[in-house]
């Protein structure tokens, strides 16, 4: 139970950690000051959530590891985030498409997590939900602007959506920890979110005059710690200080 709960928390937290890190990369390099502020803010929200989760995970693990140890001192194969969130900021369309495809899930997930029997998780969910509701509005708006903007932006957004689409299915894969936590009334049954997810996503894509991809093939592996080649580079940066200066306080 303890082990499953710990893993379950990491599965949630790692998504926000890696996505937050990706958003943090953009700081000062966005297409406008307003988007820079918004992206920094979203990154900030995500890292805030991350801290709550890892602090809780640290308590559950009870082996003296701190939130930073858990966030920054695991091996790549031990990060449990979905592949979607680690995809790079190729351009602003990728950034927004990645965010949108995660936000819709994130919102549905947290809505359910609020009902968790685990009161800490439920409380984090409630607090995070307000933030994620804003994230979802922000990224959806950009899907619409870019999808139903100029020919160039539409093409770029379609390319991004097509590329990232194959990473959406993994959001609804159940891990062993998931199953155990669902049966305890603690975890969310992600398989049940799938329909609402695609229905919401598809309606926004349609409104944005974008084509809904028809791929039958999807990628997976992140939840088992098998990541894309982008992940390693992200981690070299995330972990650098903790690795280079071990056991220090900052």
């Amino acid at each position: 139970m303890k082990d499953n709960l710990y893993k379950y928390i990491l599965g949630i937290a790692d998504n926000s950690l890696i996505l937050g890190q990706r958003m943090g990369e953009l700081c000062g390099h966005g297409p406008s000051l307003e988007t820079d502020i918004a992206c920094t803010n979203i990154s900030l929200d995500l890292f805030g959530q991350v801290r709550s989760y890892y602090q809780y995970a640290s308590k559950i693990a009870g082996d003296g590891r701190t939130e930073d140890d858990i966030a920054m001192l695991r091996k790549e194969r031990e990060y449990l985030n979905v592949l979607l969130v680690e995809q790079p900021n190729n351009d602003f369309a990728y950034t927004m498409a990645r965010h949108f495809l995660f936000d819709v899930y994130h919102f549905l997930f947290l809505t359910e997590l609020q009902k968790s029997k685990d009161l800490t998780l439920a409380a984090i969910a409630t607090k995070s939900l307000k933030e994620v509701s804003y994230h979802q509005r922000f990224s959806s708006d950009w899907i619409k602007r870019l999808g139903d903007g100029t020919d160039e932006s539409q093409q770029k957004m379609q390319t991004a959506i097509d590329f990232l689409w194959t990473y959406t299915d993994e959001l609804f894969h159940q891990t062993e920890a998931d199953k155990a936590m669902v049966s305890e009334g603690i975890g969310v049954d992600v398989t049940k979110l799938k329909q609402a997810y695609y229905s919401k996503v598809n309606s926004i894509l349609e409104e944005s005059t974008l084509i809904i991809p028809e791929s039958k093939y999807f990628q997976k592996g992140g939840k088992q710690g098998i990541h894309t080649e982008h992940m390693g580079y992200l981690l070299t940066e995330l972990q650098y200080m903790q690795r280079a200066y071990p056991n220090m306080e900052w």
Binding site: L238, M248, E249
Partner: protein, 318 residues
């Protein structure tokens, strides 16, 4: 308007300022006042925006989650400062695009301090402590400057900057009380940022232009050298307190002046950096211009989308 009428208006204008009344965007103002304010406020705004880059450089590598969150929040604040300073400029009839154009072409300046690289994590501490510290000294008097939008923006900016300054100093405290490696890192950052921070307060009074006029308009209340002295007197005890050494062998308490004497500043370096040849000038501009040009299609799309939405609304209304 006749020359006399203008003179009259100018006189009334100067009297208003002397009475500490705020000038508002719709009020009559001399063209030079307008231009000077656009120049100074936009330079300030640009500094906030370019200033995001050296700190942004450490977001992905911050050593703890707590520090990462604080750094993100700080950089976000800077973007916010940029935003309302640009807005204050816009009240004077210049567009944000024009302001960016001035920055990107090199016509407008930004604070030279941001042309130094952030080499270690301790630089996040040093920037907060020293750079924001010097900025506050520059800016506090502006909270009561004559142009209303600028003064009001400055009240908010200063409040946040002073939070940043404490946060930076706190990073330094932690490092100075940490392992020998951490203490070295803190000292090294102080060594590298000390002199550029002193230069931030501007050229010596002998070489400073615009000063008299700026004093009258309350854009300036003290001379650069006075501000510099204030900064030094305030900062040296802070360094002492945490056991760091100011990298100036000539620094000495002057009992008579009740102030610190300090060594000579390398003004050649100052002018090299101001003229665009600092360690990071090219990189900073490359980053800003790159973001702007790379984002053009995004801004175009947003515009096109808004127009489409507007058209749809109008059609529905018919």
């Amino acid at each position: 308007m006749s020359e006399e009428q203008v003179k009259n208006l100018e006189k009334q204008f100067e009297e208003r300022i002397a009475r500490d009344e705020k000038i508002e965007p719709k009020d009559w103002m001399p063209e030079k006042y307008r231009q000077t304010h656009i120049r100074q406020m936009s330079q300030h705004a640009h500094s906030e925006i370019v200033g995001m880059l050296p700190e942004g450089n450490w977001i992905t590598r911050a050593p703890s989650l707590r520090r990462k969150v604080a750094l993100l929040a700080k950089v976000q604040d800077e973007a916010g400062h940029g935003l309302y300073l640009y807005s204050a400029c816009e009240t004077l009839g210049i567009s944000r695009d024009e302001l960016y154009e001035q920055l990107h072409s090199g016509k407008a300046k930004y604070s030279s301090i941001f042309n130094y690289p952030t080499v270690t994590w301790a630089d996040m501490g040093a920037i907060g402590w020293l750079v924001d510290g010097a900025a506050i000294i520059n800016q506090v008097p502006l909270c009561s400057t004559s142009f209303g939008p600028y003064a009001r923006a400055m009240v908010r900016v200063c409040k946040e900057e002073s939070f940043h300054q404490r946060q930076g100093y706190e990073i330094m405290i932690k490092l100075a009380n940490g392992t020998p490696e951490q203490k070295d890192m803190a000292q090294d950052a102080l060594n590298r940022w000390w002199w550029p921070s002193l230069m931030m307060l501007g050229p010596t009074d002998a070489e400073s232009i615009h000063t008299e006029q700026s004093m009258k308009w309350k854009l300036k209340r003290k001379s650069n050298d006075e501000l510099r002295q204030q900064f030094i007197d305030q900062t040296v005890p802070q360094a002492d307190l945490i056991g760091l050494t100011i990298p100036d062998p000539d620094l000495k308490w002057n009992e008579e002046r009740q102030s610190y004497d300090f060594g000579e500043i390398n003004w050649d370096e100052f002018w090299q950096v101001v003229k665009g040849h600092g360690p990071m000038n090219k990189e900073r501009m490359k980053a800003r211009v790159g973001a702007w040009e790379g984002g053009e299609w995004v801004r175009d799309a947003a515009m096109a989308h808004a127009e489409k939405q507007q058209e749809r609304k109008e059609k529905q209304a018919v």
